[in-house]
Protein backbone atom coordinates (compact mmCIF):
# COMPACT_ATOMS: atom_id res chain seq x y z
CA UNK A 1 0.00 0.00 0.00
CA UNK A 2 1.85 3.11 -1.22
CA UNK A 3 0.42 5.66 1.20
CA UNK A 4 1.43 3.55 4.16
CA UNK A 5 4.88 3.19 2.64
CA UNK A 6 5.13 6.95 2.56
CA UNK A 7 3.86 7.31 6.10
CA UNK A 8 6.56 5.16 7.65
CA UNK A 9 8.91 6.78 5.22
CA UNK A 10 12.57 6.19 5.27
CA UNK A 11 14.01 8.51 2.59
CA UNK A 12 14.90 5.50 0.46
CA UNK A 13 11.31 4.25 0.51
CA UNK A 14 10.06 7.63 -0.64
CA UNK A 15 12.55 7.68 -3.48
CA UNK A 16 11.58 4.18 -4.59
CA UNK A 17 7.89 5.08 -4.43
CA UNK A 18 8.35 8.29 -6.45
CA UNK A 19 10.40 6.37 -9.02
CA UNK A 20 7.31 4.30 -9.76
CA UNK A 21 5.19 7.36 -10.46
CA UNK A 22 4.12 8.21 -13.99
CA UNK A 23 5.09 11.55 -15.50
CA UNK A 24 1.55 12.85 -14.98
CA UNK A 25 1.63 11.99 -11.27
CA UNK A 26 5.00 13.70 -10.83
CA UNK A 27 4.04 16.86 -12.72
CA UNK A 28 0.62 17.06 -11.05
CA UNK A 29 2.04 16.56 -7.54
CA UNK A 30 4.68 19.22 -8.15
CA UNK A 31 2.06 21.70 -9.39
CA UNK A 32 -0.18 20.99 -6.42
CA UNK A 33 2.74 21.31 -4.00
CA UNK A 34 3.59 24.75 -5.39
CA UNK A 35 -0.07 25.85 -5.17
CA UNK A 36 -0.47 24.57 -1.59
CA UNK A 37 2.77 26.23 -0.47
CA UNK A 38 1.72 29.50 -2.13
CA UNK A 39 -1.57 29.28 -0.22
CA UNK A 40 0.07 28.52 3.14
CA UNK A 41 2.66 31.27 2.73
CA UNK A 42 0.24 33.68 1.02
CA UNK A 43 1.35 36.69 3.15
CA UNK A 44 4.92 36.17 1.92
CA UNK A 45 4.06 35.35 -1.70
CA UNK A 46 1.43 38.02 -2.31
CA UNK A 47 3.01 41.45 -2.88
CA UNK A 48 -0.07 43.39 -1.68
CA UNK A 49 -2.90 43.16 0.84
CA UNK A 50 -5.75 41.34 -1.01
CA UNK A 51 -8.39 43.63 0.53
CA UNK A 52 -6.52 46.94 0.24
CA UNK A 53 -8.26 49.37 -2.11
CA UNK A 54 -5.93 51.85 -3.78
CA UNK A 55 -8.04 54.36 -5.70
CA UNK A 56 -4.98 55.82 -7.44
CA UNK A 57 -4.34 52.46 -9.11
CA UNK A 58 -7.68 51.25 -10.46
CA UNK A 59 -8.05 49.09 -13.61
CA UNK A 60 -4.32 48.88 -14.33
CA UNK A 61 -3.37 46.26 -16.94
CA UNK A 62 -0.91 43.48 -15.99
CA UNK A 63 2.62 44.82 -15.45
CA UNK A 64 5.78 44.13 -13.45
CA UNK A 65 4.35 45.52 -10.21
CA UNK A 66 0.85 44.12 -10.70
CA UNK A 67 1.37 40.75 -12.39
CA UNK A 68 -2.37 40.25 -13.03
CA UNK A 69 -3.27 43.97 -13.06
CA UNK A 70 -5.66 45.66 -10.65
CA UNK A 71 -9.46 45.65 -10.42
CA UNK A 72 -12.04 48.44 -10.32
CA UNK A 73 -11.27 49.10 -6.63
CA UNK A 74 -7.51 49.19 -7.14
CA UNK A 75 -6.89 45.83 -5.48
CA UNK A 76 -3.92 43.79 -6.73
CA UNK A 77 -5.42 40.80 -8.56
CA UNK A 78 -2.35 38.56 -8.22
CA UNK A 79 -2.44 38.92 -4.43
CA UNK A 80 -6.16 38.18 -4.44
CA UNK A 81 -5.64 35.07 -6.58
CA UNK A 82 -2.93 33.84 -4.16
CA UNK A 83 -5.19 34.37 -1.15
CA UNK A 84 -7.97 32.69 -3.12
CA UNK A 85 -6.03 29.41 -2.86
CA UNK A 86 -6.88 29.41 0.85
CA UNK A 87 -10.60 29.55 0.03
CA UNK A 88 -11.03 27.43 -3.10
CA UNK A 89 -8.53 24.69 -2.33
CA UNK A 90 -9.53 24.51 1.35
CA UNK A 91 -13.30 24.37 0.80
CA UNK A 92 -12.81 22.05 -2.17
CA UNK A 93 -10.69 19.76 0.01
CA UNK A 94 -13.29 19.69 2.79
CA UNK A 95 -16.28 19.01 0.55
CA UNK A 96 -14.37 16.24 -1.23
CA UNK A 97 -12.70 14.34 1.59
CA UNK A 98 -15.16 14.66 4.49
CA UNK A 99 -17.92 12.88 2.51
CA UNK A 100 -15.30 10.41 1.29
CA UNK A 101 -14.48 9.34 4.86
CA UNK A 102 -18.00 8.42 5.90
CA UNK A 103 -19.02 7.37 2.39
CA UNK A 104 -16.28 4.74 2.25
CA UNK A 105 -17.07 3.65 5.83
CA UNK A 106 -20.78 3.22 5.09
CA UNK A 107 -20.10 1.41 1.82
CA UNK A 108 -17.56 -0.90 3.46
CA UNK A 109 -19.91 -1.77 6.32
CA UNK A 110 -22.85 -2.41 3.98
CA UNK A 111 -20.70 -4.53 1.68
CA UNK A 112 -19.28 -6.53 4.59
CA UNK A 113 -22.51 -7.22 6.46
CA UNK A 114 -24.95 -7.33 3.54
CA UNK A 115 -28.56 -8.02 4.51
CA UNK A 116 -31.00 -5.29 5.50
CA UNK A 117 -28.30 -2.61 5.89
CA UNK A 118 -27.13 -3.27 2.35
CA UNK A 119 -30.58 -3.18 0.75
CA UNK A 120 -31.47 0.05 2.56
CA UNK A 121 -28.22 1.56 1.32
CA UNK A 122 -28.85 0.44 -2.26
CA UNK A 123 -32.30 2.08 -2.24
CA UNK A 124 -30.70 5.30 -1.00
CA UNK A 125 -28.00 5.18 -3.65
CA UNK A 126 -30.55 4.65 -6.43
CA UNK A 127 -32.48 7.67 -5.23
CA UNK A 128 -29.38 9.82 -4.99
CA UNK A 129 -28.25 9.06 -8.53
CA UNK A 130 -31.62 10.06 -9.98
CA UNK A 131 -31.70 13.28 -8.02
CA UNK A 132 -30.28 16.43 -9.59
CA UNK A 133 -27.58 17.54 -7.21
CA UNK A 134 -27.46 21.20 -8.25
CA UNK A 135 -31.18 21.60 -7.58
CA UNK A 136 -30.73 20.36 -4.02
CA UNK A 137 -27.87 22.80 -3.46
CA UNK A 138 -29.91 25.70 -4.76
CA UNK A 139 -32.87 24.70 -2.59
CA UNK A 140 -30.61 24.60 0.47
CA UNK A 141 -29.24 28.02 -0.51
CA UNK A 142 -32.78 29.30 -0.93
CA UNK A 143 -33.56 28.13 2.61
CA UNK A 144 -30.42 29.19 4.44
CA UNK A 145 -29.28 32.04 2.22
CA UNK A 146 -26.11 32.23 0.12
CA UNK A 147 -22.84 31.21 1.72
CA UNK A 148 -20.43 28.42 2.29
CA UNK A 149 -22.52 26.77 5.05
CA UNK A 150 -25.29 26.01 2.56
CA UNK A 151 -22.77 24.40 0.23
CA UNK A 152 -21.35 22.29 3.07
CA UNK A 153 -24.78 21.05 4.11
CA UNK A 154 -25.95 20.19 0.59
CA UNK A 155 -22.69 18.48 -0.39
CA UNK A 156 -22.41 16.54 2.87
CA UNK A 157 -25.94 15.24 2.33
CA UNK A 158 -25.32 13.88 -1.16
CA UNK A 159 -21.65 13.51 -2.08
CA UNK A 160 -20.93 10.46 0.11
CA UNK A 161 -23.19 8.24 -2.00
CA UNK A 162 -20.68 7.84 -4.85
CA UNK A 163 -17.94 6.76 -2.41
CA UNK A 164 -20.31 4.36 -0.67
CA UNK A 165 -21.14 2.83 -4.06
CA UNK A 166 -17.47 2.35 -4.95
CA UNK A 167 -16.44 1.01 -1.54
CA UNK A 168 -19.41 -1.37 -1.39
CA UNK A 169 -18.63 -2.83 -4.81
CA UNK A 170 -14.99 -3.39 -3.85
CA UNK A 171 -15.92 -4.90 -0.48
CA UNK A 172 -18.22 -7.45 -2.13
CA UNK A 173 -15.22 -8.72 -4.08
CA UNK A 174 -12.84 -8.53 -1.15
CA UNK A 175 -14.87 -10.08 1.65
CA UNK A 176 -14.56 -13.69 0.53
CA UNK A 177 -10.83 -13.58 -0.16
CA UNK A 178 -8.50 -15.81 1.83
CA UNK A 179 -6.82 -13.15 3.93
CA UNK A 180 -10.21 -11.92 5.13
CA UNK A 181 -11.29 -15.41 6.07
CA UNK A 182 -7.94 -15.88 7.82
CA UNK A 183 -8.44 -12.69 9.83
CA UNK A 184 -11.91 -13.87 10.77
CA UNK A 185 -10.65 -17.31 11.80
CA UNK A 186 -8.01 -15.69 13.99
CA UNK A 187 -10.87 -14.12 15.89
CA UNK A 188 -10.00 -10.50 15.17
CA UNK A 189 -12.76 -8.00 16.01
CA UNK A 190 -14.85 -7.02 12.99
CA UNK A 191 -13.79 -3.38 13.18
CA UNK A 192 -10.18 -4.47 12.84
CA UNK A 193 -10.98 -6.78 9.92
CA UNK A 194 -12.86 -4.06 8.03
CA UNK A 195 -10.72 -1.01 8.71
CA UNK A 196 -7.29 -2.52 9.14
CA UNK A 197 -7.32 -5.38 6.65
CA UNK A 198 -9.98 -4.68 4.03
CA UNK A 199 -9.81 -0.89 3.85
CA UNK A 200 -6.35 -0.58 2.24
CA UNK A 201 -7.54 -2.94 -0.50
CA UNK A 202 -10.91 -1.34 -1.22
CA UNK A 203 -9.96 2.34 -1.10
CA UNK A 204 -8.12 2.54 -4.43
CA UNK A 205 -11.07 3.34 -6.67
CA UNK A 206 -12.36 5.92 -4.17
CA UNK A 207 -8.98 7.65 -4.07
CA UNK A 208 -8.84 7.80 -7.86
CA UNK A 209 -12.41 9.08 -8.06
CA UNK A 210 -11.75 11.66 -5.33
CA UNK A 211 -9.36 13.57 -7.60
CA UNK A 212 -11.98 14.03 -10.33
CA UNK A 213 -14.47 14.84 -7.56
CA UNK A 214 -12.09 17.45 -6.14
CA UNK A 215 -11.90 19.19 -9.55
CA UNK A 216 -15.68 19.16 -9.94
CA UNK A 217 -16.12 20.49 -6.39
CA UNK A 218 -13.81 23.45 -7.06
CA UNK A 219 -15.82 24.13 -10.23
CA UNK A 220 -19.02 23.86 -8.19
CA UNK A 221 -17.84 26.27 -5.50
CA UNK A 222 -16.53 28.84 -7.97
CA UNK A 223 -19.63 28.43 -10.16
CA UNK A 224 -22.01 29.08 -7.26
CA UNK A 225 -19.91 32.03 -6.15
CA UNK A 226 -19.96 33.34 -9.72
CA UNK A 227 -23.77 33.23 -9.62
CA UNK A 228 -23.70 35.16 -6.33
CA UNK A 229 -24.96 32.12 -4.38
CA UNK A 230 -21.69 31.02 -2.81
CA UNK A 231 -18.89 32.97 -1.20
CA UNK A 232 -19.63 36.67 -1.26
CA UNK A 233 -17.61 39.42 -3.02
CA UNK A 234 -15.17 41.04 -0.62
CA UNK A 235 -13.61 37.58 -0.13
CA UNK A 236 -11.03 36.74 -2.82
CA UNK A 237 -12.82 33.64 -4.13
CA UNK A 238 -11.85 32.88 -7.74
CA UNK A 239 -15.37 32.52 -9.17
CA UNK A 240 -16.59 35.62 -7.35
CA UNK A 241 -13.60 37.53 -8.74
CA UNK A 242 -14.51 36.48 -12.29
CA UNK A 243 -18.08 37.66 -11.63
CA UNK A 244 -16.82 41.04 -10.42
CA UNK A 245 -14.72 41.44 -13.56
CA UNK A 246 -17.59 40.53 -15.86
CA UNK A 247 -18.88 44.11 -16.03
CA UNK A 248 -15.47 45.28 -17.23
CA UNK A 249 -14.87 42.55 -19.80
CA UNK A 250 -15.00 44.93 -22.80
CA UNK A 251 -12.20 47.31 -21.76
CA UNK A 252 -10.40 45.43 -18.96
CA UNK A 253 -10.19 41.80 -20.03
CA UNK A 254 -7.72 40.76 -17.30
CA UNK A 255 -10.10 41.10 -14.34
CA UNK A 256 -12.36 38.23 -15.34
CA UNK A 257 -9.92 36.07 -17.32
CA UNK A 258 -6.82 35.80 -15.09
CA UNK A 259 -8.52 34.63 -11.84
CA UNK A 260 -10.23 31.91 -13.92
CA UNK A 261 -6.80 30.72 -14.99
CA UNK A 262 -6.09 29.85 -11.33
CA UNK A 263 -9.04 27.43 -11.42
CA UNK A 264 -7.78 25.83 -14.65
CA UNK A 265 -4.24 25.38 -13.31
CA UNK A 266 -5.40 23.93 -9.98
CA UNK A 267 -7.91 21.64 -11.69
CA UNK A 268 -5.31 20.43 -14.18
CA UNK A 269 -2.88 19.62 -11.35
CA UNK A 270 -5.55 17.53 -9.61
CA UNK A 271 -6.56 15.80 -12.87
CA UNK A 272 -2.94 14.90 -13.58
CA UNK A 273 -2.65 13.38 -10.09
CA UNK A 274 -5.90 11.47 -10.65
CA UNK A 275 -4.61 10.08 -13.93
CA UNK A 276 -1.32 9.11 -12.30
CA UNK A 277 -3.05 7.45 -9.34
CA UNK A 278 -5.28 5.47 -11.69
CA UNK A 279 -2.12 4.09 -13.32
CA UNK A 280 -0.35 3.60 -10.00
CA UNK A 281 -3.28 1.64 -8.58
CA UNK A 282 -3.16 -0.54 -11.66
CA UNK A 283 -6.47 0.33 -13.23
CA UNK A 284 -6.42 -0.49 -16.89
CA UNK A 285 -8.18 2.63 -18.14
CA UNK A 286 -8.90 5.81 -16.35
CA UNK A 287 -12.09 5.37 -14.37
CA UNK A 288 -13.82 8.66 -14.91
CA UNK A 289 -16.95 9.60 -13.00
Amino acid sequence: MPTQAILIAAPGAVRREVARWSVTLKVGSLMLLVIVLAGIFAPLVAPFDPYFQDYDRVLLPPSGTHLFGTDQLGRDLFSRVIYGIRIDLMVGFIITFVPMIYGVAIGALAGYYGGVLDSVLMRLLDTAIAFPFLVLIIVVIAILGPGVQSIYIAVFLVAWTMYARLARAEMLVERSKDYMLAAKTLGYPTSRIIFRHALPNIIGSSVVFSMADFVLNILLLSGLSFLGLGIQPPEPEWGAMVAEGRDFIFENWWICTLPGLAIVVTGTALSLIGDGLARRFGQRHQAIL
Binding site: T24, R123, D126, T127, I129, A130, F131, P132, F133, L134, V135, L136, I138, V139, I141, A142, I143, L144, P146, A212, V215, L216, L219, L220, S222, G223, F226, L227, G228, L229, G239, V242, A243, R246, I249, F250, W253, C256, T257, G260, I263, V264, V265, T266, G267, T268, L270, S271, L272, D275, R284, H285, Q286, A287, I288, L289
Partner: protein, 313 residues
Amino acid sequence: MQFLAYILSRLVQMVPVLFLVVLIAFLAMELVPGDPIMLMLGGRANETMLAALHAEFGLDRPAITRFFSFIINALQGDLGTSIIQRQPVSVIVGERIEKTVFVIVYGAVLAVLVALPLAVIAAMKHDRPVDHVIRIGGMIGMSMPPFWLALLLILLFGLGLGWFPIGGYGEGFFGHLWHLFLPGLTIALFLSPILVASLRAAMLDVMGEDYIEVARSKGLSPRRIMFKHVLRNALIPAITVLSINIGWLLSGAVIVEYVFSIPGMGSLLVRSVGSRDYPVIQGLTVVFALFVMLTNLAADLSYMLVDRRVLRK
Protein backbone atom coordinates in the same frame (compact mmCIF):
# COMPACT_ATOMS: atom_id res chain seq x y z
CA MET B 1 -44.46 -6.89 -24.39
CA GLN B 2 -41.16 -7.29 -22.59
CA PHE B 3 -40.37 -3.76 -23.62
CA LEU B 4 -43.59 -2.38 -22.13
CA ALA B 5 -43.06 -4.28 -18.89
CA TYR B 6 -39.61 -2.81 -18.65
CA ILE B 7 -40.85 0.75 -19.14
CA LEU B 8 -43.58 0.14 -16.60
CA SER B 9 -41.19 -1.17 -13.96
CA ARG B 10 -38.91 1.81 -14.53
CA LEU B 11 -41.83 4.21 -14.12
CA VAL B 12 -42.81 2.48 -10.87
CA GLN B 13 -39.24 2.86 -9.63
CA MET B 14 -39.47 6.59 -10.31
CA VAL B 15 -42.35 7.08 -7.87
CA PRO B 16 -40.38 7.07 -4.57
CA VAL B 17 -37.71 9.35 -6.06
CA LEU B 18 -40.38 11.74 -7.27
CA PHE B 19 -41.99 11.68 -3.83
CA LEU B 20 -38.66 12.66 -2.29
CA VAL B 21 -38.25 15.45 -4.82
CA VAL B 22 -41.69 16.86 -4.07
CA LEU B 23 -40.97 16.60 -0.35
CA ILE B 24 -37.71 18.55 -0.76
CA ALA B 25 -39.45 21.15 -2.92
CA PHE B 26 -42.14 21.48 -0.25
CA LEU B 27 -39.55 21.82 2.50
CA ALA B 28 -37.86 24.64 0.58
CA MET B 29 -40.56 26.99 1.80
CA GLU B 30 -41.23 25.16 5.05
CA LEU B 31 -37.73 25.26 6.53
CA VAL B 32 -37.03 28.92 5.86
CA PRO B 33 -36.12 30.55 9.15
CA GLY B 34 -38.84 33.12 9.82
CA ASP B 35 -41.90 33.92 7.75
CA PRO B 36 -41.40 33.20 4.03
CA ILE B 37 -44.05 35.75 3.01
CA MET B 38 -42.34 38.41 5.11
CA LEU B 39 -38.97 37.49 3.56
CA MET B 40 -40.36 37.65 0.04
CA LEU B 41 -41.95 41.02 0.60
CA GLY B 42 -38.81 42.28 2.30
CA GLY B 43 -40.69 43.91 5.18
CA ARG B 44 -42.97 45.92 2.89
CA ALA B 45 -46.15 44.25 4.17
CA ASN B 46 -48.76 45.46 6.64
CA GLU B 47 -50.89 43.20 8.86
CA THR B 48 -53.91 42.79 6.57
CA MET B 49 -51.77 42.17 3.48
CA LEU B 50 -49.78 39.56 5.39
CA ALA B 51 -52.91 37.78 6.60
CA ALA B 52 -54.39 37.81 3.08
CA LEU B 53 -51.22 36.36 1.58
CA HIS B 54 -50.98 33.75 4.32
CA ALA B 55 -54.49 32.64 3.45
CA GLU B 56 -53.72 32.70 -0.29
CA PHE B 57 -50.63 30.51 0.14
CA GLY B 58 -52.40 28.32 2.68
CA LEU B 59 -49.94 29.14 5.45
CA ASP B 60 -52.80 29.36 7.95
CA ARG B 61 -53.35 25.61 7.62
CA PRO B 62 -51.25 22.87 9.29
CA ALA B 63 -48.12 21.71 7.44
CA ILE B 64 -49.32 18.17 6.77
CA THR B 65 -52.51 19.39 5.07
CA ARG B 66 -50.49 21.78 2.97
CA PHE B 67 -48.10 19.00 1.94
CA PHE B 68 -50.91 16.83 0.62
CA SER B 69 -52.59 19.67 -1.20
CA PHE B 70 -49.17 20.59 -2.64
CA ILE B 71 -48.84 17.04 -4.01
CA ILE B 72 -52.40 16.92 -5.32
CA ASN B 73 -52.04 20.32 -6.99
CA ALA B 74 -48.65 19.38 -8.46
CA LEU B 75 -50.15 16.21 -9.93
CA GLN B 76 -52.73 18.39 -11.65
CA GLY B 77 -50.02 20.64 -13.04
CA ASP B 78 -50.73 23.47 -10.59
CA LEU B 79 -47.48 24.57 -8.99
CA GLY B 80 -48.80 27.62 -7.19
CA THR B 81 -48.47 31.33 -7.92
CA SER B 82 -45.34 33.43 -8.13
CA ILE B 83 -45.46 36.11 -5.47
CA ILE B 84 -43.20 38.47 -7.43
CA GLN B 85 -44.63 38.08 -10.93
CA ARG B 86 -48.21 37.35 -9.82
CA GLN B 87 -48.61 34.61 -12.43
CA PRO B 88 -49.10 30.85 -12.16
CA VAL B 89 -45.71 29.15 -11.73
CA SER B 90 -46.65 26.54 -14.33
CA VAL B 91 -47.03 29.32 -16.93
CA ILE B 92 -43.76 31.08 -16.02
CA VAL B 93 -41.78 27.85 -15.98
CA GLY B 94 -43.65 26.36 -18.94
CA GLU B 95 -42.64 29.05 -21.39
CA ARG B 96 -38.99 28.60 -20.41
CA ILE B 97 -38.67 24.84 -20.68
CA GLU B 98 -38.31 24.96 -24.46
CA LYS B 99 -35.40 27.41 -24.27
CA THR B 100 -33.45 25.37 -21.74
CA VAL B 101 -34.07 22.16 -23.69
CA PHE B 102 -32.89 23.87 -26.88
CA VAL B 103 -29.64 25.03 -25.25
CA ILE B 104 -28.94 21.61 -23.71
CA VAL B 105 -29.72 19.56 -26.82
CA TYR B 106 -27.71 21.99 -28.98
CA GLY B 107 -24.79 21.72 -26.54
CA ALA B 108 -25.00 17.93 -26.37
CA VAL B 109 -25.08 17.61 -30.18
CA LEU B 110 -22.06 19.90 -30.53
CA ALA B 111 -20.33 17.93 -27.76
CA VAL B 112 -20.81 14.66 -29.64
CA LEU B 113 -19.51 16.30 -32.84
CA VAL B 114 -16.39 17.42 -30.97
CA ALA B 115 -15.90 14.29 -28.85
CA LEU B 116 -16.57 11.44 -31.29
CA PRO B 117 -13.68 12.07 -33.73
CA LEU B 118 -11.26 12.79 -30.88
CA ALA B 119 -12.24 9.59 -29.06
CA VAL B 120 -11.91 7.48 -32.23
CA ILE B 121 -8.45 8.95 -32.95
CA ALA B 122 -7.35 8.45 -29.33
CA ALA B 123 -8.49 4.82 -29.28
CA MET B 124 -6.96 3.98 -32.69
CA LYS B 125 -3.64 5.61 -31.75
CA HIS B 126 -3.73 4.16 -28.23
CA ASP B 127 -0.66 5.12 -26.12
CA ARG B 128 0.94 7.04 -28.99
CA PRO B 129 1.71 10.78 -28.78
CA VAL B 130 -1.67 11.81 -30.29
CA ASP B 131 -3.48 9.84 -27.58
CA HIS B 132 -1.49 11.53 -24.82
CA VAL B 133 -2.09 14.98 -26.28
CA ILE B 134 -5.85 14.31 -26.37
CA ARG B 135 -5.79 12.91 -22.81
CA ILE B 136 -3.85 15.85 -21.35
CA GLY B 137 -6.00 18.28 -23.36
CA GLY B 138 -9.05 16.63 -21.84
CA MET B 139 -7.71 17.12 -18.31
CA ILE B 140 -7.16 20.82 -18.97
CA GLY B 141 -10.59 21.07 -20.60
CA MET B 142 -12.28 19.40 -17.66
CA SER B 143 -10.76 21.97 -15.31
CA MET B 144 -12.21 24.93 -17.19
CA PRO B 145 -15.18 26.44 -15.35
CA PRO B 146 -18.12 26.94 -17.75
CA PHE B 147 -18.64 30.58 -16.71
CA TRP B 148 -15.01 31.36 -17.53
CA LEU B 149 -15.15 29.47 -20.83
CA ALA B 150 -18.28 31.44 -21.72
CA LEU B 151 -16.54 34.77 -21.03
CA LEU B 152 -13.52 33.71 -23.11
CA LEU B 153 -15.79 32.79 -26.03
CA ILE B 154 -17.57 36.14 -25.68
CA LEU B 155 -14.21 37.93 -25.81
CA LEU B 156 -12.97 35.91 -28.77
CA PHE B 157 -15.98 35.34 -31.04
CA GLY B 158 -18.35 38.01 -29.83
CA LEU B 159 -16.09 41.02 -29.46
CA GLY B 160 -12.80 40.17 -31.17
CA LEU B 161 -14.16 38.61 -34.34
CA GLY B 162 -17.79 39.72 -34.09
CA TRP B 163 -19.11 36.48 -35.63
CA PHE B 164 -21.80 35.59 -33.13
CA PRO B 165 -24.24 37.45 -30.87
CA ILE B 166 -23.30 37.33 -27.18
CA GLY B 167 -26.77 37.17 -25.70
CA GLY B 168 -30.46 36.59 -26.25
CA TYR B 169 -32.50 33.77 -27.75
CA GLY B 170 -33.11 34.91 -31.34
CA GLU B 171 -36.12 34.53 -33.66
CA GLY B 172 -37.09 31.30 -35.44
CA PHE B 173 -35.17 28.03 -35.56
CA PHE B 174 -32.15 29.37 -37.43
CA GLY B 175 -32.15 32.51 -35.31
CA HIS B 176 -31.93 30.26 -32.24
CA LEU B 177 -29.12 28.27 -33.84
CA TRP B 178 -27.21 31.46 -34.52
CA HIS B 179 -27.87 33.17 -31.18
CA LEU B 180 -27.25 30.06 -29.13
CA PHE B 181 -24.04 29.02 -30.86
CA LEU B 182 -21.71 30.41 -28.19
CA PRO B 183 -23.81 29.03 -25.29
CA GLY B 184 -24.01 25.66 -27.05
CA LEU B 185 -20.27 25.67 -27.70
CA THR B 186 -19.59 26.45 -24.03
CA ILE B 187 -21.63 23.44 -22.94
CA ALA B 188 -20.00 21.29 -25.64
CA LEU B 189 -16.48 22.27 -24.60
CA PHE B 190 -16.99 21.47 -20.94
CA LEU B 191 -18.92 18.28 -21.61
CA SER B 192 -16.69 16.78 -24.30
CA PRO B 193 -13.64 15.95 -22.11
CA ILE B 194 -15.79 13.60 -20.02
CA LEU B 195 -17.32 12.17 -23.18
CA VAL B 196 -13.97 11.64 -24.92
CA ALA B 197 -12.47 9.91 -21.88
CA SER B 198 -15.39 7.51 -21.41
CA LEU B 199 -15.81 6.75 -25.12
CA ARG B 200 -12.09 6.08 -25.46
CA ALA B 201 -12.05 3.77 -22.43
CA ALA B 202 -15.14 1.94 -23.72
CA MET B 203 -13.64 1.51 -27.18
CA LEU B 204 -10.39 0.15 -25.75
CA ASP B 205 -12.40 -2.37 -23.73
CA VAL B 206 -14.33 -3.46 -26.83
CA MET B 207 -11.13 -3.70 -28.86
CA GLY B 208 -9.89 -6.37 -26.44
CA GLU B 209 -12.95 -8.59 -27.04
CA ASP B 210 -12.74 -11.89 -28.91
CA TYR B 211 -15.17 -10.93 -31.65
CA ILE B 212 -12.92 -8.04 -32.68
CA GLU B 213 -10.06 -10.52 -32.92
CA VAL B 214 -12.28 -12.68 -35.12
CA ALA B 215 -13.17 -9.72 -37.33
CA ARG B 216 -9.52 -8.85 -37.63
CA SER B 217 -8.48 -12.37 -38.53
CA LYS B 218 -11.19 -12.45 -41.19
CA GLY B 219 -9.25 -9.63 -42.80
CA LEU B 220 -11.75 -6.79 -42.32
CA SER B 221 -10.21 -3.36 -42.69
CA PRO B 222 -9.38 -1.48 -39.46
CA ARG B 223 -11.73 1.29 -40.50
CA ARG B 224 -14.63 -1.11 -40.95
CA ILE B 225 -13.91 -2.82 -37.62
CA MET B 226 -13.77 0.55 -35.89
CA PHE B 227 -17.04 1.94 -37.16
CA LYS B 228 -19.07 -1.24 -37.61
CA HIS B 229 -18.07 -3.18 -34.52
CA VAL B 230 -16.15 -1.14 -31.97
CA LEU B 231 -18.02 2.14 -32.03
CA ARG B 232 -21.45 0.57 -31.87
CA ASN B 233 -20.59 -1.47 -28.80
CA ALA B 234 -18.83 1.43 -27.14
CA LEU B 235 -21.95 3.57 -27.36
CA ILE B 236 -23.67 2.05 -24.31
CA PRO B 237 -21.07 3.17 -21.77
CA ALA B 238 -20.98 6.54 -23.50
CA ILE B 239 -24.76 6.94 -23.20
CA THR B 240 -24.49 5.95 -19.52
CA VAL B 241 -21.88 8.60 -18.91
CA LEU B 242 -23.99 11.23 -20.69
CA SER B 243 -27.09 10.36 -18.69
CA ILE B 244 -25.23 10.20 -15.36
CA ASN B 245 -23.87 13.62 -16.17
CA ILE B 246 -27.24 15.12 -17.10
CA GLY B 247 -27.34 16.82 -13.69
CA TRP B 248 -23.89 18.20 -14.36
CA LEU B 249 -25.03 19.27 -17.85
CA LEU B 250 -28.02 21.05 -16.30
CA SER B 251 -25.82 22.88 -13.82
CA GLY B 252 -23.71 24.00 -16.77
CA ALA B 253 -26.86 25.15 -18.52
CA VAL B 254 -27.86 27.21 -15.48
CA ILE B 255 -24.54 29.07 -15.60
CA VAL B 256 -24.51 29.42 -19.39
CA GLU B 257 -28.06 30.80 -19.45
CA TYR B 258 -27.09 33.29 -16.78
CA VAL B 259 -23.94 34.48 -18.59
CA PHE B 260 -25.59 34.78 -22.02
CA SER B 261 -28.88 36.11 -20.59
CA ILE B 262 -31.02 33.41 -22.20
CA PRO B 263 -34.54 33.48 -20.74
CA GLY B 264 -34.54 29.80 -19.71
CA MET B 265 -35.20 27.90 -16.48
CA GLY B 266 -31.65 28.29 -15.21
CA SER B 267 -31.54 32.07 -15.27
CA LEU B 268 -35.03 32.06 -13.74
CA LEU B 269 -33.79 29.84 -10.90
CA VAL B 270 -30.85 32.13 -10.11
CA ARG B 271 -33.11 35.18 -10.17
CA SER B 272 -35.80 33.51 -8.05
CA VAL B 273 -33.30 32.54 -5.36
CA GLY B 274 -32.13 36.17 -5.35
CA SER B 275 -35.68 37.53 -5.01
CA ARG B 276 -36.77 34.71 -2.67
CA ASP B 277 -39.69 33.79 -4.90
CA TYR B 278 -40.32 30.44 -3.17
CA PRO B 279 -43.23 29.13 -5.27
CA VAL B 280 -41.10 29.52 -8.43
CA ILE B 281 -38.14 27.78 -6.74
CA GLN B 282 -40.45 24.92 -5.74
CA GLY B 283 -41.84 24.60 -9.25
CA LEU B 284 -38.37 24.65 -10.82
CA THR B 285 -37.14 22.00 -8.37
CA VAL B 286 -39.87 19.62 -9.48
CA VAL B 287 -39.41 20.35 -13.20
CA PHE B 288 -35.61 20.05 -13.06
CA ALA B 289 -35.85 16.74 -11.20
CA LEU B 290 -38.44 15.40 -13.66
CA PHE B 291 -36.12 16.42 -16.46
CA VAL B 292 -33.20 14.47 -14.99
CA MET B 293 -35.36 11.40 -14.33
CA LEU B 294 -36.88 11.37 -17.81
CA THR B 295 -33.44 11.75 -19.37
CA ASN B 296 -32.16 8.77 -17.41
CA LEU B 297 -35.19 6.79 -18.52
CA ALA B 298 -34.64 7.81 -22.15
CA ALA B 299 -30.99 6.75 -21.85
CA ASP B 300 -32.01 3.33 -20.53
CA LEU B 301 -34.51 2.91 -23.35
CA SER B 302 -31.95 3.92 -25.94
CA TYR B 303 -29.68 1.08 -24.78
CA MET B 304 -32.24 -1.23 -26.27
CA LEU B 305 -31.95 0.40 -29.66
CA VAL B 306 -28.20 -0.05 -29.55
CA ASP B 307 -28.09 -3.45 -27.87
CA ARG B 308 -31.06 -5.81 -27.59
CA ARG B 309 -29.30 -7.93 -24.98
CA VAL B 310 -30.01 -5.33 -22.31
CA LEU B 311 -33.61 -6.54 -22.11
CA ARG B 312 -32.58 -10.01 -21.04
CA LYS B 313 -30.66 -8.78 -18.01
